[in-house]
């Protein structure tokens, strides 16, 4: 969980794509998942997600993300299947329509979430921000806020781990509790964590300020993000994907 949003260095096709192209690909996969209404197409998209993960050279991470999503998906699937009233019952109160809609909902969720996590695995967060500012002319303060927030997640999680460890060591039964009881024990610890987080983010703001945060413009970046042939290929692929989602 902690390294979910961590960049994994590499030189794969996906690493070499322009950050903006990568974002486009992510968005296109999401859009396609919402346009289509066919289960088989959604499964195809999921396979595409996995393929992307493997091409990017992060198979282990891809599988981990999938595992994490499956847990949430299972919960949603059961909920959705139980709540749908339409269609003919298959067993107890579960109907065939219920199963189908539930299947689509969770598949969509997985299809949409995976590329979002993967794009961060193959793109340096700074490149992402720089490209957004340079190419799409997103105002720098927004890009900075987003990148800082993403960078912050693993720090927050590891701090949470440290706090839980410290509390376990003084006798709080984190190592025995599960589920909601554990959640109930974690919540009171969030206050100190938030205090230290606020302190930290303020420091980060000062650190950025004394290194010319306010001077930064769209042309400040040293690294350039030109579009290459592989980007063109990716864009064509995106178009094909959307077309397929509409036609199929």
């Amino acid at each position: 969980m902690r390294d979910l949003f961590q960049y994994v260095p590499g030189t794969s096709l996906l690493h070499r794509l322009n950050p903006v192209t990568k974002l486009l690909l992510t968005v296109v996969i999401c859009v396609a998942a919402f346009i289509t209404d066919r289960l088989i197409f959604l499964l195809g998209l999921l396979a595409l997600d996995l393929l992307i993960g493997f091409i990017a050279g992060v198979p282990k991470k891809t599988v981990n993300i999938l595992k994490g999503l499956l847990r949430i998906a299972l919960f949603l699937f059961i909920l959705q299947a139980l709540l749908t009233r339409k269609g003919t019952p298959v067993f107890w109160i579960v109907t065939d329509t219920g199963l189908l809609t539930a299947g689509k909902v969770v598949l969509r969720l997985m299809v949409v979430c995976m590329p979002l996590a993967l794009v961060l695995a193959v793109t340096k967060i700074n490149d992402l921000a720089n490209a957004l500012v340079q190419v799409l002319h997103v105002p720098y303060p927004y890009a900075f806020t987003i990148t800082t927030a993403i960078r912050f997640i693993p720090q927050f999680l590891s701090e949470m781990d440290d706090i839980m460890e410290a509390q376990t060591a003084r006798g709080v039964e984190f190592d025995a509790a599960k589920g909601f009881r554990k959640l109930g024990m974690i919540l009171p610890l969030c206050a100190p964590l938030l205090i230290s987080s606020v302190r930290r983010s303020e420091q980060t703001a000062v650190a950025a300020e004394v290194r010319g945060f306010h001077l930064r413009t769209a042309v400040s970046g040293y690294k350039q993000y030109p579009f290459q042939w592989i980007d063109l290929g990716a864009v064509l692929f995106c178009c094909a994907l959307i077309a397929a989602a509409i036609l199929l």
């Binding site: 693993p154 650190a207 300020e209 004394v210 290194r211 010319g212 306010h214």
Partner: protein, 279 residues
Amino acid sequence: MIDIQDLTFTYKDEPAPALSGISLTVTDGAFLGIIGPAGAGKTTLIRAVSGVIPHHYTGDYYGSVRVNGLDTVDTPLTDLSRLVGMVFQDVDSQIISSVVEDELLYGLENFGVPREEIPSRLEFALDRVGIADLRDRTIASLSGGQRQKVAIASVIALRPRVLVLDEPTGELDPRSSRQIFSLLKALNREYGITVVVVEQKIMLLCEFADMLAVLDQGKIVRQGKTREVLARSDELEALGVNCPRVTLLTRLLSERLGKSLPVSVSLDEAEKLVRGLMQ
């Protein structure tokens, strides 16, 4: 280089001043160490020198701080930061990138350093700090000492005239701490960068700093050449400031031998002193 006149500062919503009546002059190319108990105002003083006070942290501000002739109140923070590089106490909150190279680029890009000059600046900073091999590493994969060096390199790349550091060796082991201080001393000697460093490790500070300022309850209670400040080690101890053991040794020897001996601030000096006495 730095000229502080009668500075009193109270943070917004705080009842008592964090600094009161501070006057301090740091000449160009000096290496000043700041020491004092917790809550004495060391970090506040560092912030005032770098201009973060009053530009970022506001409050009641009396007196003046001039850096290279510029009044920190009238000069925009970004102009001050071209002059003064700052290294924070908590390195992790200072680093804003995920890869070493990007962290160094950040300030260079923002301050509009010409494109063709950037590679040489990058290499200079990486080589000088001794982390050229870490250039493409992710920050998450670095140790505390390595991160500290990255933070220093990212500031050095901007070629500041003054370097201010707030407990730069806090979580480092003795050897890495020494490396950081040796690095600061080299930058100070070779490029004439004025260094102001807050540090609790008194032995390191005394060995490397030419000047010491002792803070207590927002006031400067001692300032001067390191040796002169240490000469009154008994008074420092009364203030709750530790002294290096070599200084204690000099004091004990002076008392026992009934003659005043030169204060030693490092092992080398103490060795010389004792060898001299033994002859």
